[in-house]
């Protein structure tokens, strides 16, 4: 599983962080950081993160 976050769209809502904290973090500067190729076990959490992103900035590639 590969994640792409469109950083031009992302407005640092942080909703993805609540859904999948193992994958998405907000750094001390308030910007999003994430693991681009997380474990497949985290798929459900990552799907949920993509659902709850207000900007719909997260895409998942298999």
């Amino acid at each position: 599983m590969r994640i792409i976050v469109d950083m031009d769209r992302c407005q640092d809502h942080g909703q993805c962080v609540f859904a999948a904290p193992e994958v998405f973090q907000i750094n001390p500067a308030g910007r999003l950081e994430y693991t681009a190729e997380p474990d497949d076990e985290l798929r459900e959490a990552v799907e949920e993160a993509a659902d709850v992103c207000p900007l719909q900035a997260i895409t998942i590639e298999d």
Partner: protein, 416 residues
């Protein structure tokens, strides 16, 4: 327009009424909950589901296509049938059948109510032309063509949509006046003091407020006032209840909503404000009908036993997940999880470069509103407390609102 297989189904499946965010999430979550039977989503808009928040923001400010706001859909819904551009006209919940506007009928084993809300319209006298609402992509694209620097916009209603449209229009260089009956913008969720702080932010950017005022009528048309648009049925301004007038080139009505429940009439349901659901999102306890999103009136045991509709973006996703599990278990004979639905509401609004971020239910914490961090006219966090002293909601406003609000989310999520 029909996308996917239609008609020749050997067994009735799930019909989802409403093809927006709630309908899409319901279809996806039915698959995630193990429902492998047919799913047909029926929607009166001609577009595949798309995201509404950009409609009062980016879509009004520039050229934005459907593709740019369309939701990503999970691979699991590739076999779902979409009947777009077709309304559900009626439902017979005893016979388990819906009738579409084109006269066709669809039997169902399970029904998802996801028809959401539409904007309430003012029925004051005066011309109808030049008056807009913002709910659908078509609405936003129609309004965008009218927003130009130097023109005068009157926004009726000071809720979040009115405030966002006003902010976007100021950004485009329009002259903007907000007229509303309340004493401050976004009064119900924010309370007087933070509402006043929001008003000052708008005023600092040149928005004029006419608060505590209602609309008596629209100017133009039969008034004979030339409006330069060569259109007699176009509003050229508003007359307020104190007889003062505000001239306008464009009017936006953002005065609340009406749930789209007409198609459910005749089934003995309480449709006075959306559809009443139980704690598992079943419509008045019917095991084979669930509701999701803005139309669902559900109790939240996090706060109390009162069933309420919640018009937040987070609700279609949260409620679809729960409702789909309830329905899939019912349809497949599995055990229904009786844990009550108790979402943590979350809401945001973007006005100018500022974010308003809320967690919990600030509207239920009006008994005691306290500034928790910062200053009202700068970045701040405000806490809303229930009469029993419990913190039930927070609102953060300003540049770092999302990060500030996140610090309180755990505390708010803790007591369920």
């Amino acid at each position: 327009m029909i996308i996917g297989v239609d008609g020749a189904r050997d067994r009735p499946g799930v019909v989802v009424a409403g093809a927006a965010m709630g309908g899409l999430r319901a279809a996806e979550q039915l698959r995630a909950a193990g429902w492998t039977g047919p799913v047909t989503v029926v929607g009166d808009e001609r577009h595949m589901p798309y995201n509404r928040p950009p409609l009062s923001k980016e879509v009004l400010a520039g050229e934005v296509s459907h593709a740019a706001v369309a939701f990503r859909t999970r691979a699991s819904v590739a076999d779902v049938t979409w009947r777009l551009g077709t309304a559900v006209a009626a439902a017979d919940l005893t016979e388990r059948r819906v009738t579409l506007a084109d006269g066709s009928t669809l039997p169902y084993a399970g029904l998802v109510v996801a028809t959401g809300i539409r904007p309430r319209r003012l029925n004051c006298p005066g011309p109808r032309g030049g008056r807009h609402v913002v709910r659908t992509l078509d609405d936003a694209q129609a309004l965008r063509g009218e927003l130009r620097a130097g023109r005068r916009l009157v926004v009726i209603g000071a809720g979040f949509i009115g405030c966002e449209v006003a902010a976007t229009a100021r950004g485009l260089g329009m002259e903007v006046t907000i007229v509303a009956p309340e004493s401050e913008p976004m009064l119900r969720p924010l309370g007087e003091r933070l509402g006043a702080a929001l008003r000052r932010r708008h005023e600092a950017r040149g928005v004029t407020f006419r608060l505590g005022r209602t609309i008596d009528r629209f100017l133009g048309g039969a008034d004979g006032a030339g409006n330069g648009h060569g259109d007699d049925d176009r509003a050229t301004g508003v007359v307020l209840d104190d007889a003062s007038t505000v001239p306008a080139d464009v009017v936006v009505e953002a005065v609340g909503s009406v749930p789209n429940t007409e198609w459910l009439a005749g089934n003995g349901l309480d449709l006075s404000d959306g559809v009443v659901c139980d704690a598992l999102l079943r419509v008045e306890g019917r095991p084979d009908v669930v509701a999701v999103g803005d139309i669902a009136r559900f109790p939240n045991p996090r706060y109390d036993a009162v069933a309420r509709r919640v018009e937040h973006w987070s609700v279609p996703t949260d409620s679809a997940k729960r409702a789909a599990r309830t329905l899939a278990a019912q349809l497949t004979g599995g055990a229904v999880d009786e844990t009550p639905f108790a979402p943590l509401p979350t809401f945001w609004s973007d006005q100018y470069a500022e974010r308003l971020q809320s967690f919990g239910a600030p509207g239920l914490g009006a008994a005691d509103i306290r500034l928790l961090e910062g200053e009202l006219d700068a970045d701040c966090v405000v806490g809303y407390h229930h009469a029993d002293g419990r913190l039930v909601g927070i609102v953060a406003l300003g540049g770092g609102a999302a990060v500030a609000a996140a610090r309180y989310r755990g505390a708010l999520a803790a007591h369920a």
